[in-house]
Symmetry: C2
Subunit: 225 residues, 2 copies
Amino acid sequence: MSKSKIKDTTKISNAVIKRLPRYRRYLKELKKKGVDKISSNELSSLIGYTASQIRQDLNNFGGFGQQGYGYNVDGLYNEISAILGLDREYKMVIVGAGNLGQALANYTHYYRAGFVVKALFDVNPRLVGLRINDIDVLDSEGLVEYVEDNEIDLGIICTTKDNAQEIADKLCFAGVKGIWNFAQVDLEVPNHVALENVHLSDSLYTLAYKVSGNAAQNGGAGFEE
Amino acid sequence: MSKSKIKDTTKISNAVIKRLPRYRRYLKELKKKGVDKISSNELSSLIGYTASQIRQDLNNFGGFGQQGYGYNVDGLYNEISAILGLDREYKMVIVGAGNLGQALANYTHYYRAGFVVKALFDVNPRLVGLRINDIDVLDSEGLVEYVEDNEIDLGIICTTKDNAQEIADKLCFAGVKGIWNFAQVDLEVPNHVALENVHLSDSLYTLAYKVSGNAAQNGGAGFEE
DNA sequence: GCGATTTTGTGCGTTTTTTAACGATACTTA
DNA sequence: TAAGTATCGTTAAAAAACGCACAAAATCGC
Ligand SMILES: NC(=O)c1ccc[n+]([C@@H]2O[C@H](COP(=O)([O-])OP(=O)(O)OC[C@H]3O[C@@H](n4cnc5c(N)ncnc54)[C@H](O)[C@@H]3O)[C@@H](O)[C@H]2O)c1
Ligand SMILES: NC(=O)c1ccc[n+]([C@@H]2O[C@H](COP(=O)([O-])OP(=O)(O)OC[C@H]3O[C@@H](n4cnc5c(N)ncnc54)[C@H](O)[C@@H]3O)[C@@H](O)[C@H]2O)c1
């Protein structure tokens, strides 16, 4: 499927990466609708990025399209999935079995996408021992050992912000490859560990800014980011 | 406090706005520690943005600092809070009282910050009638009327993606000023309604990208975004 | 099978964003 | 109070991101 042309994908800008999941979402919809092929122009009017940007984004990874034809929906979907690393399974633990930790554990879609929550961890003895969506809540004393023994790939931090750095340190020590952080704090992790923050409050405050008189109104079609 | 110099804040770039909540978080910490003043250089080594960028960002809104001194922590915190629109109260409803809707309703910090959840809405009769964190779960039949009657400012969408656009339409019709969307879909809203998306899956997939071999490693101190 | 048409991949100019440099200004201390 | 120092606000330069335009290549219709 992919051409033999070798691209250096080691320094793709963050802006490009952030758009990939969005491409994938639209391609998934198109697949579901039974659409076989799509041109950058058609994609553009769906997604809201310029056709030029779409072509340029995709070309960072390889020539997935064909002149005069466009892109094969199924093929492109698979390529992007592979680029994102979604063609494998990720073992995860959630640390902090409170509101958010439980909500994530109950969310079944990730499992289907290859993200498997193996265990939850908490310090609260009233939570330890529970089963949430068939996943055990374990005592966080055993976190490091569990992560090591079960070769956990990703740690999800859903504790209060005061404990987050400590948890992150433990997770990194135990060998996770990435951390998905929901605590409202910026964590320090070693270079070889990936970090993705979900700062919900920051997002809400951004919304407040847009709503309050200070901000310019969205002039366009409701796309952003 | 603020100088009389008039700035045109109607076309501040999104990149700047996204950094404001982060400035505010660090200033809050400094306040808590009893720090009175801070220079752009000191802030830089805390936050990880260049001192130059910090000064330029802040200058978009006014000259909050003083030469030879720096910035007054308390004053700057208040200025940024005001810019973000956090010096008022927002009335909110959550549509979709599932995992995520309940997690948000249970989260008490937003209340303190002026974001008050007035009601949850759901179609599921088994959820309607419940009280979550002292907030009623109402039948979503009455959504439009409730939003109109109670002058709700913001709608939070926590339903499945298939219903999200319909809910958004109702919320907009009923007069909300902004929508915080957690459904994995890009919504269309009128120009005068602000929209902020939290695409959790996109964030997770970005993490997968960074973890998978494709990505370049984070060369620095663990800061990003 | 061939010409008209479509559409990509890509070089290049433009815009946006970030970083650097520095004069102006206010603080600090002796 | 005045010299010296710290630090901002701002302008200029550099870098990054984006969009335009077009040649090359493949498709599609006849
Ligand atoms: N719930 C939300 O809507 C929301 C919104 C914005 C931000 N957040 C952030 O997400 C994080 C979690 O939020 P939440 O609402 O689930 O909080 P929560 O209080 O419901 O849950 C936190 C859980 O972490 C556990 N915990 C604390 N220290 C721990 C440790 N050292 N090891 C293991 N477990 C530990 C607690 O026992 C608790 O069960 C917080 O940092 C919060 O600021 C949540
Ligand atoms: N929970 C997570 O961890 C998670 C992660 C990523 C994305 N999301 C997204 O967030 C959204 C909510 O997730 P969730 O886990 O809370 O799902 P959920 O299924 O637990 O809750 C959805 C709720 O919405 C209600 N609902 C459906 N249609 C409605 C309508 N028309 N009006 C009012 N209520 C309606 C349902 O009855 C249900 O209670 C989904 O779009 C999901 O894709 C959730």
